[in-house]
Subunit: 461 residues, 2 copies
Amino acid sequence: MSTSENKIPYKIYLTEEEMPKQWYNVRADMKNKPAPLLNPGTLQPMGYDDLRPVFCDELIEQELDNTTAYIDIPKEISDFYKMYRPSPLVRAYCLEEKLGTPAKIYYKFEDNNTSGSHKLNSAIAQAYYAKKQGLKGVTTETGAGQWGTALSMACSYLGLDCKVYMVKCSYEQKPFRREVMRTYGANVTPSPSQTTAVGRKILQEHPGTTGSLGCAISEAVEAATSAEGYRYVLGSVLNQVLLHQSIIGLETKAALDKYGVKPDIIIGCAGGGSNLGGLISPFMGQQLRGEATYKFIAVEPASCPSFTRGKFAYDFCDTGMVCPLAKMYTLGSGFIPSANHAGGLRYHGMSPVLSQLYHEGLMEARSVEQTSVFEAAEQFARVEGILPAPESSHAIRVAIDEAMRCKETGEEKTIVFGLTGTGYFDMYAYEKFHDGQMSDYIPTDADLQVGFDGIPPQPQE
Amino acid sequence: MSTSENKIPYKIYLTEEEMPKQWYNVRADMKNKPAPLLNPGTLQPMGYDDLRPVFCDELIEQELDNTTAYIDIPKEISDFYKMYRPSPLVRAYCLEEKLGTPAKIYYKFEDNNTSGSHKLNSAIAQAYYAKKQGLKGVTTETGAGQWGTALSMACSYLGLDCKVYMVKCSYEQKPFRREVMRTYGANVTPSPSQTTAVGRKILQEHPGTTGSLGCAISEAVEAATSAEGYRYVLGSVLNQVLLHQSIIGLETKAALDKYGVKPDIIIGCAGGGSNLGGLISPFMGQQLRGEATYKFIAVEPASCPSFTRGKFAYDFCDTGMVCPLAKMYTLGSGFIPSANHAGGLRYHGMSPVLSQLYHEGLMEARSVEQTSVFEAAEQFARVEGILPAPESSHAIRVAIDEAMRCKETGEEKTIVFGLTGTGYFDMYAYEKFHDGQMSDYIPTDADLQVGFDGIPPQPQE
């Protein structure tokens, strides 16, 4: 460690004055823009008016805006951000020492709030625009529960009604997640449910089903479009979500710049892409503008390998096929990922922005198996004092792998990864791990083919 | 809000350079020192050599030192502190606005670590001195689980063995707490157990017992004294614990001083006194030296009212009566507090330092009922974005009460309270609250008399 390195504190906090005042829209710097959402019936691109029944007006504008690089963060949202932001950028001195690596490891830790993850960054923005539009409330789905919790918090703060469709198996296995949402006054329904037509249809066809994220999305969309004064909001995948989550990357970059540190490798876990997209956006922007180069690594579960084994195609975002089609790396909306404790990463698709970047070779992707993920999680917890969420631990796994590679080669690379949240509600998974009852399941090519068969015919180019 | 007030950020973080380098020992400024621990057989004060079979050497020195005001924090502990400290001092702007109070509310938030509470401040210190002495490991008890988790973390970091006796009902009701301790490699045993003579005796006499903190202490002490290379460590009550926890108050004071803020009221929840004692120590020191006056309020559960309805007397610290006698406010070591979700406050006694200060009228105490505590917790969660632990919510309750009093009188008082941790592992309690199934139990005078009858004959003055 050089003298100047010694000056970097364990945790870098920005002051309120140093906090970003604008979100960054990476699409503005992309030569090839992400493909537009298509109407599933006509296969025509969906414009502002087409999307209005489902989404809030101002969010649609953000969704469709591929050219404005910086968008002001409204004061109300900035004030809310101050409640739990800036989040610290932590120098993992203890982990580095334990690994004996010459690499310098940093992580952006997004758990300074009760939702337990980065999801609040977009939840408050979406709730704010819904409120501004004079709506009564919003609907959404949640799998692992982080997004539902975040949205419940945001709605409670703004006095909006919040209806959450929670994947049934999560609802039953994670009663405490449900209880946090109730603390914030949300209405939580296990999905599939009898409250929607699509839910009733799914229950009739699959009476014993414990639900899926795709199915909960269908129900939430129906609930929003069939009630007066409601809109649907989504915690990942969409362009607007990546825009809001850019706060993660902007803070990370500002903190690194403050100490003159330039990262070599930037790593994030990827389910729908909200954290990864937010973390890498400003760095990717530099790369797209030719100002710098980085190695970006998306990490996904081997059990749900959208990037590493999926197809780049237009596909449905939900099981009920009521949502627009999005062009993305997908395993097919009918793909049922095997049980995996990183519930937040069990989604068949991927952000169209990230999909486009990956397709162009601007980032890498790796899939990892869950027992190796929990090994990394425990190793990290013991030296860094943070109990990571299973989702976040995917990024930890690859950060440790990269640091160990540096140990072999002697390279002093600077590694940054996103630590999206804590695992307080995932102790059942840790228990399975401790008891040696955790298995790794990797889908066969035949398993994947079942999903691929459900991808709809592609529009003519 | 005046212009100067506007400059105070939502969260005040000290820099690493501003972090305290020494702990503060409030006993040095007390005219009347806390009464010494007594040998339960001879009723003679216990000196260094008497305590060596149970406690670590350097910790005994700290326990007995009533005169040194400042004690250096060893570099190894300072470095560990940097992993999760400084903790933020948060200005509760959102809560103030919601309450419509002219009061200014600050809270010191001690949850920047996986143990989920302030307990780690003393755990790392105690583990460090055990390691320095060349011991193999330490034993302890835990009720709610915060202390056990914190000690597990500290021991894992230093490579010490850690044996935790966990009150059986907690062990069964909080499997996830147990799992966090296992993540840190601790050996967790439900108490009472067959692993100790005192455990076997208690099980024989009360076959269906679900245990108590007093009983778990007895087992942990026996486990330490009957094994080579082990000592017993305790997370509250003791003078040394208050010394280590003074980091909370020192940081709080430094953060307030940085912005020229002088608090009027300082509030903390009180079980054994670790958080309250740590928070108020430097402020109490000023008061004892005649430099300032503050209103200090200890908040305890109405179901376990050591301060407000207890006796100031020498009593046993544990059920098995193997520990030294301590002079403190006590409900009697045989008092069984009713079921209450603030497990960390269910202790019959109280820190001798705080007991002495309270006895001299230097601080106030209030008892509050748990439904009103959970009302305050939920109100706080919805505006401040933090899900508080039931223990911490006792302080929130009284902080809100005091702020509402300011609203009536128009006084712009500055209120500081300690937010000791988060409630992620307490959602069962929140669920009971949401479902209207939470009851308030206040012991009758007859209930208390049963406990008082067990207080041993007092030594002659």
